[in-house]
Structure formats: structure tokens, C-alpha cells
């Protein structure tokens, strides 16, 4: 998709999904972009006709955040969370829940930021309630490591995805 990006999304352990991306910016600046509503609005989820209409983020332990997006066809997606750990500019851990969750239990999202040679790597680790939920969220479309153990399914999904692509002009 985005060439030149080192974006990765992969499973780890039993219950985690790990998403990694590095940025050519100082860690303090990246951290600001993760915690300031005026900045969050400019990058989080503003994709394919979706807009963020509510964005609050109270960056401290026990602080809450609230995001609400509107979709191109009148859909609403709302998310709220509570911050469990907060250490500028290196760590934000929160528990999060969708307004209308479709998977059991809360998920925990942890952002860690490390800087080396002027580049900052952001690792987002999302931990789900159990393995089944994680695997469901992850599926096979996401990480080749999992796909390898899902041979039959992978074949099915890729065939279906192709027809989906034709239909939806992704």
C-alpha cells in the first residue's frame, strides 16, 4: 500500500496483535500527536470518507478518551477508553471499548515509543480478552505468520477477497 513504510501488523503470543511503524520525527513530537486532540483529529481514522467528529483525550493515569467517527453513509463508530499508564514521551496504556462492541471483553492498547537516530518507532500492542477473540480480529488477511497455519482458509479468503475487490473497487 504505502511503499517506503515499514508498517507491520502481526500476532504475538496468545492474545496480542502488534502493529509497528517508524516515523522520521523526534519521539516527543510523535507523542504529542498521540495525545493532543487537535493533532489526533488530523490522522486517526480519517480514511475513505470517515471523519472524526468527537475527540477528547485526557492524558494522565485515570484520564479518559473518547473518539467518535462518522462514516460516508451515516455510520457512527464510537470508542472510549481509560488510561491505565501514562509516561511521556514513551508509553500510553489504556483499556478501550467500542460503543457497540462485537467481541467479548475490553481490549488493552499500549503505545510504546522508542527513538533511534532521529527516527521514532511506535509499537501498538492490542491485547484481547482471549485467544479466540485475537484470532478472530487478526484473521488471515493481516499477517502472513498466521496465514501459514491456516492454509485452507487462506485459499478461501484470497479467492473471496479477489471477487470482493472487483465488486467494491478497493
Amino acid at each position: 500500500m504505502h511503499r517506503g513504510s515499514d508498517f507491520k501488523a502481526e500476532p504475538r503470543g496468545e492474545r496480542e496483535v502488534v502493529i509497528t511503524r517508524s516515523f522520521a520525527a523526534r519521539r516527543e513530537l510523535v507523542f504529542e500527536a498521540l495525545i493532543r486532540p487537535a493533532l489526533i483529529r488530523q490522522w486517526l481514522g480519517a480514511l475513505k470518507g470517515w471523519t472524526m467528529v468527537e475527540c477528547e483525550f485526557d492524558g494522565r493515569v485515570g484520564g479518559a478518551y473518547r473518539y467518535l467517527w462518522h462514516g460516508p453513509n451515516g455510520e457512527r463508530m464510537g470508542l472510549r477508553g481509560v488510561i491505565l499508564e501514562f509516561r511521556a514521551p514513551e508509553l500510553i496504556v489504556s483499556s478501550e471499548q467500542y460503543d457497540d462492541p462485537w467481541y467479548p471483553g475490553d481490549a488493552t492498547a499500549a503505545f510504546t515509543l522508542t527513538e533511534q537516530g532521529g527516527r521514532t518507532t511506535v509499537v501498538l500492542t492490542v491485547t484481547y480478552a482471549d485467544r479466540a477473540t485475537r484470532d478472530a480480529v487478526l484473521g488471515t488477511g493481516m499477517a502472513s505468520g498466521v496465514a501459514a497455519s491456516y492454509d485452507g482458509l487462506e485459499r478461501i479468503l484470497s479467492a473471496v477477497t479477489e471477487s470482493h475487490v472487483d465488486r467494491e473497487e478497493r
Binding site: 500500500m1 504505502h2 513504510s5 508498517f7 501488523a9 502493529i19 511503524r21 516515523f23 522520521a24 520525527a25 516527543e28 513530537l29 510523535v30 504529542e32 500527536a33 495525545i35 493532543r36 487537535a38 493533532l39 488530523q42 490522522w43 486517526l44 481514522g45 480519517a46 480514511l47 475513505k48 483525550f57 485526557d58 492524558g59 494522565r60 462514516g71 455510520e75 463508530m77 501514562f86 511521556a88 514521551p89 478501550e96 467500542y98 457497540d100 462485537w102 481490549a107 492498547a109 479466540a132 484470532d135 478472530a136 480480529v137 487478526l138 484473521g139 488477511g141 493481516m142 491456516y150 492454509d151 485452507g152 485459499r155 478461501i156 479467492a159 477477497t161 471477487s163 470482493h164 478497493r170
Partner: protein, 133 residues
């Protein structure tokens, strides 16, 4: 976090589809049905399990809408129904796209901010809710 939250109908579909797909035997059955309709006996053949056990897996797949039962012959062939898988696949693609796309936008935002950040500071007015850096 995820991509777009599925609507109620999609969410029910996804729940059923994902739990149906959580089992290796059921994934193998679906893979077999990719090649065309098959009877329960045919589907049971590659597995070291009884026909009733396979039927049980088939019922889970049928409830998830992934497998349909043909009426045309006495052996009522099972066939793959790809609709619910499309919902699941679209959603999974969204998950990855959500983060990849969002982080691409963050990259561009950081680029635009970087000129004004020779030293770490907030590009916005510091609010009361902000931590000291």
C-alpha cells in the same frame, strides 16, 4: 483498536463466521467445498472422524451461513456460500487499512510539524489536560 465497526447485522455475521472458522476441521471442510459441492460422506472421507461428527461441524458452518444444503439430489450436496466470508474479509482488510492508513497520515502530519519542532514542544497551545514533557 479496529477499523470501522461493523453494523449490527454484520457483527452477528462476523461472530458466527469467526467462531465457525476457529476450528481446523471446519476450515478444511470449507477448503474442500471450494472445489465444488460434496456429500457428507465425501466430506468425511479425509478425516479420521465419524459422519455424525462431520455433520456437527457442518451444522456450525450452516448456522454461520458459510455452507448451504442443496435440495437437488437425494444426497443433498453441501456447497460453499461465500457471502459471509466476504463480510469477514472486508472487515479484516479494514483493520489493517485502518492502521496503515492512519499511520501514513500521522507520518504526513509529523512532516508538516517537524519544521516548527527543532526542539520538542507542543505545536498547539498547551492545555490543562496536557502532561509536562
Amino acid at each position: 483498536m479496529h477499523a470501522r465497526r461493523p453494523d449490527r447485522h454484520e457483527a452477528a455475521t462476523l461472530d458466527a463466521v469467526f467462531s465457525a472458522l476457529a476450528d481446523g476441521t471446519r476450515r478444511d471442510i470449507l477448503a474442500r467445498l471450494m472445489d465444488g459441492p460434496a456429500s457428507v460422506t465425501e466430506l468425511a472421507r479425509p478425516f479420521a472422524m465419524s459422519q455424525p461428527a462431520v455433520s456437527k461441524h457442518l451444522r456450525v458452518l450452516e448456522r454461520a451461513g458459510l455452507v448451504a444444503r442443496g435440495q437437488e439430489a437425494q444426497w443433498r450436496p453441501r456447497r460453499l456460500n461465500a457471502g459471509p466470508l466476504r463480510t469477514a474479509t472486508a472487515w479484516l482488510a479494514d483493520y489493517r487499512e485502518f492502521w496503515e492508513g492512519s499511520f501514513d497520515q500521522l507520518d504526513r502530519l509529523l512532516d508538516s510539524l517537524d519544521g516548527s519542532a527543532s526542539r520538542p514542544r507542543s505545536p498547539q497551545r498547551r492545555g490543562n489536560d496536557a502532561p509536562r514533557l
